[in-house]
């Protein structure tokens, strides 16, 4: 009985890792779609978003089954409930990636992107998502913590991008492109927040303490 339970828990872990990998792929595809104006990658990002949604439902079902049939306690219960929270954050990351890809599809030129630290934001967001999934895979508390700390960098970058975009609009550049860019920057910032949340759930699963406590 316990054996089945452990196997199911492990299966859950593997699925979570896969979902994390899908998120990483989606966000880097979306970023490339935007920065390199690659339409195919944009479509790929939207496909991945759907896969992520499926995965979320799958994992949710698995978690429910585990909770109802095995009635886990203590640490196991924490992992299952952390998993349930994590997947909703991952799903949001997938959504935002596909949103970025959609804006990238409609945007006419990405020449302005090199004038603001957009690429840096993308890199930072991707690395935070990667690190948070890594922290989960390895159960690495220190790494999870570093993701939470990194969020400030991304927030700061967002403010910087915003300032510079305001400057660009004021200097008479294409306003609608600037607004689209602001949206994308905001999405990156949100992705960072979700990565941060995932890291917090990893901390919770390991220590039983939630950062906001």
């Amino acid at each position: 009985m316990r054996n089945t339970f452990n196997e199911q828990l492990e299966q859950l872990n593997v699925e979570l890792i896969k979902m994390g990998a899908l998120c990483e792929e989606a966000i880097s595809a979306a970023t490339k779609a935007y920065l390199e104006a690659d339409r195919e990658l944009g479509q790929r990002a939207c496909q991945l978003e759907q896969e992520i949604d499926h995965k979320e439902r799958d994992i949710e079902g698995q978690c429910m089954k585990l909770l109802l049939r095995q009635q886990p306690v203590a640490r196991d219960l924490r992992s299952v409930s952390a998993a349930m929270r994590m997947i909703s954050d991952m799903e949001r990351i997938g959504d935002q990636a596909s949103d970025i890809a959609e804006i990238a599809r409609d945007i006419q030129s990405n020449q302005l992107a090199s004038q603001v630290p957009m690429e840096e934001m993308a890199r930072q967001a991707i690395s935070m998502v990667t690190d948070s999934v890594d922290a989960f895979v390895r159960g690495d508390l220190a790494l999870a913590h570093s993701v939470i700390v990194q969020d400030d960098i991304l927030d700061h970058l967002f403010l910087q991008v915003r300032e510079e975009l305001i400057g660009l609009i004021a200097s008479g550049k294409n306003g609608s492109v600037c607004l689209d860019m602001l949206m994308i920057a905001k999405y990156f910032e949100r992705i960072g927040d979700h990565a941060c949340n995932i890291a917090q759930w990893v901390e919770y699963a390991i220590t039983g303490q939630y950062e906001d406590d």
């Binding site: 492990e10 872990n13 593997v14 890792i17 896969k18 994390g20 990998a21 990483e24 792929e25 999934v133 895979v137 390895r138 159960g139 690495d140």
Partner: protein, 549 residues
């Protein structure tokens, strides 16, 4: 154990108790019965004497615990100490009376109707023929037992408590030495003799396990030493995708930290390609894929392991193929370049020859065309020669003979050969330095020095200088070719040694050359274990040093 001992001691206690109760009851009951009869006999004799002397008066004044009945010769009751004689039946048929009538004394014992009592009768015949009978009752065994229930129960309870206490004490004391057994070192244990065979056996098994563990440890160490020294990555998986074993090469190639014990293989890498490859291999399909890891290209070979026609696991081998990829790319480029370089002069030759053969050229112009054809074919020959040189050097120069070479001599010869060209370009060529004799392949060394000087003359200004100096060192020495020509831009300095690389692509045709000169220098230097150092400033000149160890 405690419960078993308790049950046993309880059983012993209770059975001893029951046996002794039965024994006492049996023996004592008999004894008391006999005593009672004897007493009754004595009393009957006394009462008989009393009645003989005093008659009824004696009976009236008598106080006795026994029941006394006086019976006439015909059996009529004359007196009874308990009941009214008038109501009593004739006693002539009673056993003890009849016995007494015949002799002098009769005894009998009868159970009472309720079974709770037993009555002893003793009858004695008087001299006048009447009979005195004494009766005394005794409780039966059952009644006696019933009356003793309470003390018996108390004794039972005490036995229970005693048995429990003893049992727990006993089992504790018995188990104590067993618990204190040191199973790691059973030979040092001083315990019950009965356990000796068990301990011997444990000792033997300990030895066997120890030996096997040691052997396994050794094997494992050997295995690890082998896999650790592989530059390739190596991962063993079980059929569920858990990592059984991996080497540090894996971590280096994938750029990950060591995963937890028995972690899922996805902890190593979770990219799409890797996941699919692992999924397939665990279904028994051999496959391979490419992973891009931070600029390095890693090839993953996944091989399933079968046992009884079932997938029992998988072996993943990771190979860094970055260099191979780069090599392949370079070879492809080289082939493309060679074909291009060969085709250009050939096209020119073929074109000119065609015009001549068609008779479209005036006879007086033919020598000019022939000169062009000659020039182009010379270029072709030079190119092919260079390629042959290079490919020979590529093979490691195994078929090239080494002999004593004086580099100063080589330098002088080269300068002589290049003097006409230098004069044409208005460049001064000079040799300096001392004799430097070393082991080397003369043709290659000549080619190297020639190419360097040729470049120095070609890429120079009018009135420039080229200095060739040979400086012997402690063991080897160096050859330096310095010019004050046009120099090489910093961004191109790294690439000039590549095959067919030209700094100024647009004027290469005017200047001539094959684009292979410096590549030959590089390979020739490698053949002689020498180092090539290039220093150049754009517009000021270039210095190339060949440092021989």
């Amino acid at each position: 154990m405690t419960a078993k001992i308790f049950r046993n001691s309880m059983a012993v206690g209770i059975s001893v108790f029951l046996l002794s109760v039965a024994l006492f009851m049996g023996v004592l009951y008999q004894y008391f019965g006999n005593q009672l009869t004897e007493e009754l006999e004595t009393e009957a004799w006394l009462v008989a004497k009393g009645v003989e002397t005093m008659g009824m008066d004696y009976l009236d004044g008598l106080k006795s615990s026994s029941r006394i009945t006086w019976i006439d010769q015909d059996g009529t009751v004359l007196y009874d100490s308990v009941a009214d004689p008038a109501t009593m039946k004739n006693h002539a048929d009673r056993e003890e009376i009849q016995e007494a009538m015949l002799g002098t004394q009769g005894t009998a014992r009868r159970e009472s109707a309720t079974l709770s009592e037993k009555t002893f009768y003793v009858a004695r015949r008087l001299e006048d023929g009447t009979v005195i009978r004494l009766a005394s009752a005794q409780y039966t065994v059952v009644v006696l037992l019933l009356s003793m229930v309470q003390p018996l129960l108390i004794i039972l309870v005490v036995t229970l408590i005693l048995a429990a206490v003893l049992a727990s004490r006993l089992s504790k004391r018995m188990i104590q030495p067993i618990l204190a057994l040191d199973l790691e070192h059973p030979e040092n244990c001083d315990t019950y003799d009965e356990l000796a065979p068990l301990l011997t056996r444990i000792r033997r098994q300990n030895d066997t396990i120890g030996r096997q563990m040691e052997l396994m440890g050794q094997r494992r160490q050997e295995f690890e030493a082998l896999t650790e020294n592989m530059s390739e990555g190596f991962v063993l998986l079980d059929q569920k995708g858990h990592i059984l074993s991996y080497n540090t090469g894996t971590l280096r190639l994938l750029g990950v930290l060591p995963p937890a014990e028995e972690a899922n293989v996805l902890a190593l890498d979770r990219t799409d390609a890797f996941r699919k490859s692992v999924e397939q291999v665990l279904q028994g399909v051999r496959n391979q894929c490419r992973l891009d890891r931070g600029g390095r290209c890693v090839q993953l070979l996944a091989d399933p392991v079968f046992r009884d026609n079932q997938v029992a696991g998988a072996v993943l081998v990771l190979v860094d193929v970055t260099e191979r990829e780069q090599g392949e790319k370079m070879r492809r480029e080289f082939t493309a370049n060679v074909s291009h370089e060969l085709k250009t002069p050939l096209t020119a030759i073929s074109g000119m020859a065609e015009i001549i053969s068609n008779g479209m050229v005036k006879p007086e112009d033919v020598p000019g065309f022939a000169g062009d054809i000659y020039k182009e074919s010379q270029r072709l020959i030079a190119l092919v020669e260079d390629i042959i040189h290079l490919s020979r050097l590529d093979e490691g120069g195994t078929d090239l003979r080494r002999e004593q070479v004086d580099l100063l001599e080589v330098a002088r010869k080269t300068v002589q050969r290049l003097q006409p060209l230098a004069k044409q370009a208005g460049v001064t060529l000079a040799v300096a330095g001392a004799s430097l004799v070393m082991q080397g392949v003369p043709s290659v060394l000549e080619e190297m020095v020639y190419n360097l000087c040729d470049n120095a003359v070609k890429y120079n200004h009018k009135g420039g200088t080229v200095t060739l100096s040979v400086v012997p060192g402690e063991s080897g020495g160096e050859v330096t070719v310095a010019d004050n020509g046009i120099g090489i831009p910093a961004e191109d300095q790294e690439r000039v040694f590549e095959r067919f690389y030209r700094v100024d692509k647009s004027h290469s045709k005017e200047i001539g050359g094959t684009g292979l000169g410096l590549s030959i220098v590089k390979h020739g230097a490698a053949l002689h274990d020498a180092r090539v150092e290039l220093k150049s400033t754009l517009g000021e000149g270039t210095t190339v040093r060949l440092i021989f160890p």
